[in-house]
Symmetry: C2
């Protein structure tokens, strides 16, 4: 009983910060996407390419969540965007309080879009609201087409899914139609973008979707 009560307390404290973040972003009409995937699905490469692909059109800031190291924030800075690194020091997801602090450090009045790159983990981050506008899931082809069925929570909650590393479709067993059908069973409104961040195949559809998102928000 006590365990359940305290877990609820932690979630309530997180929800309060998430609500503050949500208000902070809404006041500035600033969309914020919480990007969630397994380690190594290509989140950072996608974001670095997206920053370059939308240069001059959408001003992007990134909150980088990692257990250790600032490897990812350095990649984002090199791509030309504002970046704040959060090290969770062992924790398996970002908290809304951490994002609250990071938002104070970003030049939010000069941005059109904020990405939160969550800790690489297909399970835990989907349970913690950060106050984001929407969640974006990434699934890479080498991970296998059974992942939506086996790890449904994030696929059910995301507004968009990038199926990344489609340049490897010939090298591994991955039935993209099966993966898409399983995702749509969980979440019929989700937008699915098959892409290769490496070769940039399919990325322009994703850029267009992001551009629309920033235009809708600014209206």
């Amino acid at each position: 009983m006590r365990k359940v009560k305290v877990e609820k307390k932690i979630l309530i404290a997180n929800a309060e910060y998430a609500e503050q973040n949500s208000r902070f972003l809404a006041e500035r009409k600033l969309p914020c996407l919480n990007v969630i995937s397994s380690p190594g699905s290509g989140k950072t490469t996608i974001l670095a390419k997206t920053i370059e692909g939308l240069k001059g059109k959408v001003r992007i800031g990134v909150i980088e969540g990692d257990i250790q190291t600032d490897i990812d924030a350095r990649r984002i800075l090199a791509a030309g965007a504002a970046a704040v690194q959060i090290n969770t020091d062992g924790a398996c997801h970002l908290s809304a309080a951490q994002v609250h602090n990071a938002l104070q450090q970003l030049p939010v009045n000069e941005l059109d879009l904020v990405f939160i790159e969550n800790v690489g983990n297909l399970v835990c981050p989907s349970a913690f609201e950060l106050g984001e506008t929407a969640k974006v899931a990434v699934l890479s082809v080498p991970e296998g087409d059974d992942k939506p069925a086996k790890y449904p929570a994030i696929f059910a909650r995301a507004r968009a899914l990038l199926i990344n590393k489609i340049d490897l479709l010939g090298a591994v067993d991955f039935d993209i139609e099966k993966a898409e059908a399983d995702v749509l069973k969980l979440n019929k409104g989700i937008r699915i973008f098959p892409v290769s961040a490496k070769t940039e195949e399919g990325m322009s559809n994703w850029y267009d979707w992001l551009y629309e998102l920033t235009q809708n928000k600014r209206r």
Copy 2:
């Protein structure tokens, strides 16, 4: 303060079950390996191939941990081993209590080796002892060579590491010497097996290591 106290209580309860599991396995001189990796690194394929590769030499049982579905347990049964499926129903790691129950369902007196395939998650499972003999990490080439630096806990704690999907080394950027050096910095005693479960390249070294493990235990 209260949060910390209760988290400690949960870990103590887990440690008590882990201690029971450890005793149960030691009494039967039965080695048990807790296999931990991200989703989609190839744990189930490795186990299915290992069951076939050691057929007639090592009798293997598998405890399959998944959030949802019994896809993996069916693959293990098809490979010819005893299997028990645990569905964690959302939880991001197996607990020692779940493994305690699963061990009662396996024909342990007819087995030489037990694998626990943990939930696909590179972060949380490494913090929960299950009473296993040792942890085994799996890192697949498409995940990237920066993962040991970014997710050090499991690489520091594992007795062996399989670097899987080496058949994709030509198709993706992965510096295997860098990955191995980063792992050895965290854990100089670890055994590293570069393998492709798909093509079976390198798998015989892994089979030999497992065979030795069962022989040492039975002496």
